[in-house]
Structure formats: C-alpha cells, structure tokens
Symmetry: D2
Subunit: 343 residues, 4 copies
Amino acid sequence: MLVVMRMGASGEEIEDVVRQIESRGLKANPIPGTQRTAIGITGNLGVVEPGLFESLTGVLEVIQVSHPYKLVSREFKSDDTVVRVGDLGIGGTDLVVIAGPCSVESLEQTQRIARAVKAGGAQMLRGGAYKPRTSPYSFQGLGLEGLQILRQVSDETGLPVVTEALDIDVLDQVCEYADMIQIGARNMQNYTLLRRVGRSGKPVLLKRGMNATVTELLLAAEYIMDEGNSEIVLCERGIRTFADHTRNTLDVSAIPAVQKISHLPIIADPSHAAGNREKVPPLSRAAVAVGADGLMIEVHDHPEEALSDGSQALHPQQFSELMGEMRRLAATVDRRIPDPVNH
Amino acid sequence: MLVVMRMGASGEEIEDVVRQIESRGLKANPIPGTQRTAIGITGNLGVVEPGLFESLTGVLEVIQVSHPYKLVSREFKSDDTVVRVGDLGIGGTDLVVIAGPCSVESLEQTQRIARAVKAGGAQMLRGGAYKPRTSPYSFQGLGLEGLQILRQVSDETGLPVVTEALDIDVLDQVCEYADMIQIGARNMQNYTLLRRVGRSGKPVLLKRGMNATVTELLLAAEYIMDEGNSEIVLCERGIRTFADHTRNTLDVSAIPAVQKISHLPIIADPSHAAGNREKVPPLSRAAVAVGADGLMIEVHDHPEEALSDGSQALHPQQFSELMGEMRRLAATVDRRIPDPVNH
Amino acid sequence: MLVVMRMGASGEEIEDVVRQIESRGLKANPIPGTQRTAIGITGNLGVVEPGLFESLTGVLEVIQVSHPYKLVSREFKSDDTVVRVGDLGIGGTDLVVIAGPCSVESLEQTQRIARAVKAGGAQMLRGGAYKPRTSPYSFQGLGLEGLQILRQVSDETGLPVVTEALDIDVLDQVCEYADMIQIGARNMQNYTLLRRVGRSGKPVLLKRGMNATVTELLLAAEYIMDEGNSEIVLCERGIRTFADHTRNTLDVSAIPAVQKISHLPIIADPSHAAGNREKVPPLSRAAVAVGADGLMIEVHDHPEEALSDGSQALHPQQFSELMGEMRRLAATVDRRIPDPVNH
Amino acid sequence: MLVVMRMGASGEEIEDVVRQIESRGLKANPIPGTQRTAIGITGNLGVVEPGLFESLTGVLEVIQVSHPYKLVSREFKSDDTVVRVGDLGIGGTDLVVIAGPCSVESLEQTQRIARAVKAGGAQMLRGGAYKPRTSPYSFQGLGLEGLQILRQVSDETGLPVVTEALDIDVLDQVCEYADMIQIGARNMQNYTLLRRVGRSGKPVLLKRGMNATVTELLLAAEYIMDEGNSEIVLCERGIRTFADHTRNTLDVSAIPAVQKISHLPIIADPSHAAGNREKVPPLSRAAVAVGADGLMIEVHDHPEEALSDGSQALHPQQFSELMGEMRRLAATVDRRIPDPVNH
C-alpha cells in the first residue's frame, strides 16, 4: 500500500502518518519526491484497510499495491492446474467442449440433444435443472427431475455432466447427480455458496459475474480454494457494457489476463454472451484463438420451442459444423479436441 | 412484441411469420411500412420467448414491447406504498434516515454509535452481522453474536434495526432478531433468497445490484411480491461504470425512474456509492433533492479502526451536521424528517 | 510512479530496474516488502512513459502516482475561479441558470423562448447554431444565420449567450457572435479545437465527454489553460453506462470530485443526461444540491415541433416552476440565484 | 416507430395520438393488445423525432424501429466492399496487416521499423505524425516532418502508409502525403472532419469511438459515404468498460455485428485495446478468428525509448512470430495473408 501525501504536506503531517503506520506494527518507507512525498507500507501479511490512512491530515490518496489473492495465483503455484472431470482433463493440451440445452425440458429432449452433441464431438454435457430467471414468471427449471434426467442421460452417453447449483439448499442434491457443479454469474459473489461448494470437493465451473473484474473473479475462486478445493474451472461469459449488439460483451482479453495471474483453467461461454445463435460461431473461434481451455455451447434441436434462451441455441447441424472449425482452429494454437469416450 | 422484417422480405416470408405467431394462439398484426413490414404480436398474457421468431426467414429483429413486471407497477397499484417498520413509515411524506456502523464489531461500539446517530437524528439503526466481502481474508462479521448485539441495542435505543441476510441459511435467524431484512447488492438476483424473504412477511430493504437495470431491480422485487410480501423498500447504492472518482456511480436518476413505474419506496445509500466520507454529504443532498424516500448512512466513531469500509464512515459529529442540512433540504422538497421515537 | 516487482524477483533484476531508472536521470527508491519489492520513482517533473519499465524482467506492474494536470489543480491555485461572462460570475456564490432551445430554428422562435426563460429567471441564453448530430440526415443547425439570431436576441434581452463551436473552421465566427463558447461532449478531446479556443481568450463552457474520466476532463481543460485562457466552466452532462432508463447517467458525484481537485467552476446539464423532460426537474434539484455552480436547461414553447431533442425540452411554464424550486433549494446550500440584468 | 400507450389509456387519448401522427403526413396503425394499445407509424422516409409523440397524454413510451443508416447497410448494397489502397484490397479474401510505430520519431527510426515489419510480412505501414494525447505535456508528434518521413519510407519500402488526420486544418496535408487517412477514435463523431474526408476521395480508416455503439460507428461512416466516398475501412479498437485488466475492452463481437449489417470491411487494433504487448498476440488471434478483415499492430525496435505507448509495441521479432501464427490461423478461416509488394 502506498500513501500519497498532498503537495506541500508538512513534515509533521508526514511524521504523523509514519507514526500511525508503525503503531499498527507495519513498516513505513517514506519516498520524498520532487513535488510530493509518498510513503510505502510494508510488513503487511494480510489485508490492510485503506480507511486507516485516507483520512489523516495531509494525505491525498491511498493506492493499493498488493493483490489480495494467494492460492489462485501463479506466484503460489506456477504450473497450470488440470481439473479432472471423469476421464477428462480441463486445462491441459486438450480443449474441452461442453454442450447441451439451456434447460432440461424432458428426458426425450435431453437424450436427443445429448446424442446429437456427442455425435458432433462434444466431450461433456450441460443442461439446467434449476434456472436463474430475471422474471418470476419465466420457466424456472424441472428441479430434481431435471437432475435425474441429466444423470440418466450422462450414464447412457458417457458424457460427464455439469449443471448449476442455484443455492445452498440444492447443492447436496446437485453434487449427488452431477459430475461438475456450475456456479452461475449471478452467484459469483454468493460467498456462502462458494464456501459450501469448496467443501464439497466436487469440480466447480465458476462463471464470471457480469460486472466482475478479473481480480474479483479470482477472489471468488480463492473462497473455494480456501476451503481446500482446487478443482476449479473459470468461465468468461460476457460483461455488461453500453454495447447493445450482443446481450453481453464477451471479454476475450480476460482469458490471457487470468492465465497470466492464475494457474486455474478458463473456458468461454459464447452462447450467453452473444444472446443469438448467429454470433456463437465467430465468438467460439475468437475464444479458442485467444487461448481458452474450452467452450460451453448451447444446442437445441427445436430452438423455437425451447423454454429458455432459444435464440442463442445452435441447431445440432450447426454445432457439428462448428466442431469441425474448432478442430482445425485448435491445431493452430497447439491444442487438440479429444474424442468423446465411448460407452 | 414486434417482429421487424428485413427490407425486401417476400410476401411468403411475412405470411410464414404470421402463421407461426397464430399457431401459438397469439394474434398477428402486420403493419406494412414504406421500407419494410413489422408485425405486432398481441394476445400474450405471459412472457413470450423472442427466440420463437428471431430465426425465421426474413426476420430482421424482434423488439420487446411489454414490460415483464406486474405487481410492482403503478399500473397494478397507483398509490404509493408506505412500508411500515415499527412506528416508522417509509415512502410517505416522512424522509427516513437509517444510520450505523458498516459492521457490528462489539456491543460497546454498537451502543456508542447507535446513541450517537439517534442523538444526531436517525430514525433507524443499521449494522452488518453477516458481511459479504470480496476477499475471504477480510473480516466476515460477528454472525449470530452480531445479531444479538443489534437486537439489544435496538431495544435500548428504540431505533428499529435493519441488517443483511447473507443467505437462506441465516435468514430465519436474521428475521428473528431484525426489524427489517436487507438483501445486499450481490444478492439482488439470488432468487431463492428473494422468494424466501418474500414468504417471511418481514419488511425488506432490497439493494440494486451494481450491474442491474431498473427493470431488473423491479423484477427482483416482483419475486418478493409474488410470494405475498409487498413490504419492500428499494435502495439505489451506485452502479459499476468506467468512472473512477467514486467506488461506484450513484445513479440518482434511477430514483424518479423507479417512482414513475412503481409504487414501491426507494432510498439511497451514498456511503457505498462514494467509498469515501468526503462525498457522502453532497451525495446525500443529491439523493434527497432528487426525491429519495430516505437515506442509509454509515457512521463510525473511530473509522480509522473500523473492521470494514472505514473510509466511507462519517464521524458522529459529521453525521449530526449532515442531518441539519437534510432537515432544511427536506422542507424544500415537501418532505420532513421525523423525530426519532423516545424509549 | 511505482514499479512493483514480482514475488521472487532476484536481486539482479531489482538492480537492473534501478539502473534503468537512474540512467534516465530519475531517482530510484527501492522499498523491500514482506512478499515483494516495489521501487518508487522520483525526480520526474514531466510525464514518464510507463512503457519504459513495464517490460523489464521481474517487473509485475507499474502504477502511476503523480497526477498529470497542473494549471487546473487546486495545488496550483487554491481559490475558486469565478468565470466572468458579461456581468455574470460563474463559480462564486451565485448559481447561474442558462436556458434556451436546443437548436435555433428561427428569429421568432428564439425571441419567444428567450423572453420566456428571462421571465422565468434565467440569467443566460443557450441555443445551437451548429449542431452535432449522430445521423447525417438529421437537422444540422442554421449555421451563421443561427449565430446572428442569437446575437440579436441576446442584445434584445440582455442575456449573454453561449453556443457551440463545432469545429475550428467556425470558431472565429462563433467567437464574434457569442459571449461564451461551448465545446461539446463529442469534442472534449478535440485537442486542436481546445488549443484554439484557449488562444481565443473567450469564456469557455467545456462539456465532459460521455466516456471521459474526471482526470481526462481536467486534462482537456489543461489544454485550454496551457494556452493562457483560464475562463473555463466545466459541465457534467451524463456518462454512458449500461443503464437504460435515461439517455445517459448523470454522474452527480463528478461535481464534488472536480471541486476537490480543481479551482474551476462546474455546472450540470440535466436535459441531455435525462433525454426526457420528466426527469429534468429532479436531476436539476440533484445537481444544485450536490453543489453545482449552475445549470443548463433546454426550453421550447412547442417541443412537439422542435427540430432536435424536443422530448427533453421543458415548456416555459415548467421552466418557471423549476426556477421557483431552484431558488428555494439554492438557499439551503448557501447559494443564491441572481436576478437577470434588465436591459 | 412504435408509440406504446399506457394500460388503460382512453379511446380519446388513442385517437388524439392517431390524429397527431396523421397531421404530420404519416400513417397511424393502431394495434389493440390484451393489456394495452400500440400504434405503429409508417410512411416516414426520413428521421422522425420521438419527442413529437412522447409527451402526448396516455403515451407510455416511443420505440424506434427503423435504423437510421442507409448507404452503409447491406440492404442498400449486399456485396462486400473491397477498399483499394495502392495494390492492396481490404475486405476481400486477403487479410491485411498494417504495422509500424505508434509515433514517427525520426527518419531512421521509421526506416528501421518499416523494413522490419515488411520483413515480418506486413503489407502496409502505420505511424503517427499528429498525435492526439490526453495530456498537453505529452509528445504531440512531429507534424509535417513526420508526414514527409512517412512518405519517403513508404516509397522506399513500397508499403502504402496510413496516418491520422487530427483535424480539418491538417487534412489536406495528410491527404497529400498518405495513402489512407485515419480518423481516430476521439474524432469518430467529429462530423466536420468526417464530411471533409468524405469529399477528399481518399481511402479512410475510421476507428470506433471508445463509447460508440455499432449503430453510431455506422452512422459516422454514413457521413463519409453521404459525401460520395465509400472507400471506408472500419476499425474496432476497444471500448471503455469497468474492466481494468486491459486499457480498453476489445469488443470482438462488433466485427460480425458490423459484417451482418454493413458491406464495409472492418479490421481490429489489438495494440490500443490491450495497452500492453503481452496481450497483443492473443487478441490478434481472436480478431482474425472472429473474422476481421485485417489487423493494425504497433511495432517498435526500442519500445523502452518510444515517445508514446511503448508498452504496447511489439519487438520486430515478436511481430515476425505473430505473423507466422496469423498465416496459419488465416487459413483456418478461409483467408490468406498476401505477400508484401516488392519494390
């Protein structure tokens, strides 16, 4: 932390700040400059509240220097983490594609789509049983029945399944039926849920909140790791900006930004960012090219009948074509898309 | 909903869209224009998924016209709702000031600050027992002990108390000890929590999420009302923008925007928006002048020692001065600040 | 400037950064911390490019500490600047209200509206002769004829007039006819225009760009002051955010933020921020309450016929009522609205 | 345009809106719905001001339906436009890479870097002679001398050159020396400059403003086309958001969004979006993969000595490696990078 003094701050004011720093067991390092003095604070092992110093006389501002994350950082662990979900590894050379419907609507619908995405080349299945919906009058998901359908279809196809745990009430249930637990964008700062999924030991797919900085995303993962679970895959799914040509703005630069700071893998969800199927293929290409460790794609065989987000779902045929593109593209960034396990 | 056809869409394409609309029991109203045709959809009582029509041949785009909220809207109930918390009414002529520390740190600290804010003119007490913190290494609140302190201090001072219910696990506990339940900005779209607090019947203080539109804020309130609880006070606390001179950007225009659409009262939290105490008085003035039904202000008698957000807490003396300003200002907008109840 | 080294940076890497700093005539101040070393750079009188150090081995990041503005800052001049426009002073105790149509449409329209706003209590006239329009097919203003109309009406009513200089081509013309030159939001970083208006010596109304930080707004003013012109009034007119209930988000906190850092006056333009007349009165109240030195308000006597931005124009009667409110409100923040000069 | 009436608007209110629409020579198409009536307006060939109807009694809101651009749209011209700059074509199968220093600093520096980028595979040279700088104290470019250097180096290497015309004063000069005129992000809504460059007949590189929607970018191009110049290449260079891990957020989805609506080519500038060289290669890959028609990349052989933006400049060796990647990547999206012309 750096305390910057006002131009013309008196020697006494500077000494007072130094005393306040030292009275908290920290070390003050004054740096007299041409125009003003700054005081570096060292010796802090934890989080120092900036409010401690901001209101002292003569202080212009307080600048945070240390980053508050630890376990998630490459400074803590330099090698890439590879998260295991069944036989899959996310975060290594393999590029993992997760696909399926937005919502589980019935056993037959889930079976048809799961077979289609497997045939198209997906390695993992997605599908919502508990759905976070902006309006209370929208379809809220099949709940437990949806989880049971996902488990059955996962077993039938051999594709491991990821689904969202909407709250701590249903977390145990979701852990029982799913292979990987999704924490949705709206829950990225639901700290109770983060701690609880940390204790579950299950692999976690943690989506970036629509207004979260990269630092906040990593701190959300830190909550999970702090409970002893490092099986975390991050997911960029678009941020909220003024731009109105897509539902959210896919922030592809977050992917190399995370990879520089953290050892955790990160994938992209172009479907939710785009909000319409037309932009899913170009955004998928962008995400793979920028270095994402995988993709999560929504597919529906009757999108015009879908109970949620039909406009962003690819038709199975479009998904197959996209997978062909992805295979060629992966090779140019030294990745490969593994074949799905046969059952 | 309005389906806009591309320029040059053929008669058959238009007829096909009309057929698709009608096959869903809706009415299609084609509007042939100079350059292109649009088709209005009527007869829909619930939510229509735009995906139903977006991908039909010849369609340029689909525009939402209906607003998805019902119970919260003035079209549903034209009179202002006045929310009762103890003897207080929020949303009428009275302008309610809620004040207290960010976090409950000890009985003595809470007693001292509560007495100070009551002396300064606050009608209600705030304080965090369960704290949502970006970093797992920051102070997380005293939990149950904090709730017990708040109850005791509320009883001693006669100030009703509002505190945050961080998750559904602690909701019953918070309902037992507090007079009003706060749903924090990070939980504005925690739908399980919204439904549960809706069923509790307790007055609710619902904070706008940092990236929530006014529509989304009202839909979050709709979740609570849909469970039969209309005792909801909304709270503008700043949105996330590129501007970096305050922690968040206090969106004062959200206050008249909400008041036009909805009958629910709305207050402002200038402390969290500002992030530093210097800007709390001017933002408080702006919020009252724009028409807020109340203010929530953080106060600490030793902000440099505060375990959270010390930099934004007013000193009790600053709070008293602010209340003087607020009383004068309230009169110019036909409001009054009531005297706190004596106990 | 502060160079932060990676955790585990070697002694040699640190020494190399120190050498690079010193080779540029600057002083390096290493601050060894518990986890990493930071190096403060002092001795810099101008702007140091961060790129000089960011790419050196072992460097984690470079943090700017000094602020790049000088002449506009309170550290340079501590007293408030009062900008003189005719007999008016903007930035002192008086709160100045500028009003008039968005565009000058005809002599008669301008006369009618100018008389109405003077009768309502405005001290200054506004009106666009050259209009920046998003679409080339929208009304672009009357140009020179508009300037001549403004001059005539200003002389008739005794209200000084401000109008926008859209580019350097028309600047001399605008300087000839107007009492104050407006630099629009889209031109806030048109540096040639800023320098040129700086040399004109005329009072300037500089609007904040829709995506400008407070620092960038102040640096734009610095361009003008650097040419010897300190007759600058800043103007907050809303920033672009995701919020969609107003055209732009009026960032009222920018007003105290500017007033803390700079001696220049700052007013607000609630009409452009709101985009609709309904929200102009509450936003005007918010701006005055937060401490703005004045307001700029659009008024039209036939807004439904206006050639631009009719939806945000107040009717003369609404403007009069607003002025009544403003007079009462000004008193509560120790301001007064002066009477317009009689002619 | 669609006028949406309030729920419960009376028959008379609806008829009054219809009369107002018809009195302006437009056609009113009432659509009575279950809950409220909407009225479609047709017959408008130009821009209708929404303010005409927003304030009528019983009106809830007015929704724009028509898009205001014409010449730039695919509805106007369905084939891709290929912009010719010397022997190069931008917007066809070829993917064009423009590279060079941020600022022209000297003849020797420009020669060295131009040769290096040509050797690395660039087809076109960039370099700033007139620089828009946030601070008046930063290096402002060599001006005319810089233009002369660019011309000489362009002739020596055979690489056509693009450089920014900062204002209308220097436009003729820039047109004389450069092969393509850049309009910078800060000037995207400098309408005088847009019209003037439209009349110049020169190929234009139009950068998206940091806060511009895709619609506004296309309308800026419409200003240029409206003057008879359709030699326009658009450029995505990052938008301003809350995200702080890159200088701006490269909005890759703007590229397919533009390509759907418009026939004009669009390239990406990952250097300015990233703000640091580390993220330039991944963002370049993302831009090519998403479908950009080209890239503009900053290169410097001594970035630590650069007079502007050194931190984002690639070393020539890094640029060569990037070009290798780009060649492989281009093939996977059915593009090719042409060889630079020999001289």
